[in-house]
Symmetry: C2
Subunit: 180 residues, 2 copies
């Protein structure tokens, strides 16, 4: 039993890397099997079906992403510093693939497809709590509101970045800095 579970974990790890690199859309059993240097037959030996595979793998990826987020923790900073900081982090090689997957997850979630919807909500909850501990506000009452604005803003950056509107992002950041 133990050996079985162990190999399952190894497969999840490899498949996780593949999906992070190539997205969910290309995650056919064949592609995943090739990536894990095994056969589709074997994948279905370790997992009940594709859905279980995806659920476990996306959960694993999510955990990694959340851990990565934790590592980017810094001292608290005000809104106008936090936004540029987050944009810079977003562009980091390590984080980029997660952002790309994030967009794909949102598209699937908008149709309420499971397990994507639940996983996306989990990720977004992590965003919220991350921002909540990272943001510095003058009076505590406005904290929730400023955090929400920060969340919306960086999510907007995610979209603009996907469409290569870096110029608009830069302008927005300039505006935010100056409004201080």
């Amino acid at each position: 039993m133990k050996k079985f579970e162990l190999k399952k974990l190894i497969i999840i790890k490899i498949i996780g890397e593949y999906i992070l690199e190539n997205g969910i859309k290309n995650a056919s059993l064949k592609n995943l099997a090739d990536a894990a240097k095994t056969s589709d037959r074997m994948l279905l030996h370790y997992f009940k079906d594709k859905e279980e595979m995806l659920t476990l793998t996306l959960t694993y990826i999510t955990e990694n992403f959340i851990n990565l987020l934790e590592k980017t923790r810094t001292e608290k900073m005000p809104f106008y510093s936090l936004i540029p900081y987050l944009y810079k982090e977003m562009k980091e090689t390590q984080i980029k693939p997660y952002i790309k997957l994030w967009i794909e997850l949102i598209a699937l979630s908008s149709k309420k497809e499971e397990p994507f919807y639940s996983i996306s909500r989990q990720i977004c909850n992590s965003f919220i709590s991350w921002i909540n501990t990272a943001i510095q506000v003058n009076n505590e009452e406005e904290k929730d509101q400023v955090s929400a604005i920060a969340l919306a803003t960086i999510e907007g950056f995610v979209i603009l970045d996907a469409l290569d509107y870096d110029c608009q992002i830069i302008k927005a950041i300039e505006g935010i800095k100056q409004k201080t």
Copy 2:
């Protein structure tokens, strides 16, 4: 020749409605043919291949969307009024399906897939010019920046809305209103 082009337009219209309702992912030749009460064979009679069909149809949808946007024009208003106004519009029954499709387009665009990437950029350009004519600023120099912030914010709302984080959106809007 004329009759051919005319029927092609009719099909584009019907297929456009289907895609707006059901998304690109479900737009197989069979589904589209059923929707248009014809056969896949016929669709490929009118269109060179699926890609031409999608390109023409998505272009048609985009034009409709831009027209819809034009209709939502009002007098110029400042940032803190424009954001809540746009959120309300976003939730309108008419506009909602376009937003849903918009998310799917972004996910496809993030992989630079054509024709999705080009069409998404076109739509985003329309967003930008819409905001530019709708926003009221104190001094003209900051206009580009405020517009960019507005764009990012409502794009962020699009994501949060897809994940049913209405609560966060409301908080953000409250915050924006109060910051005046």
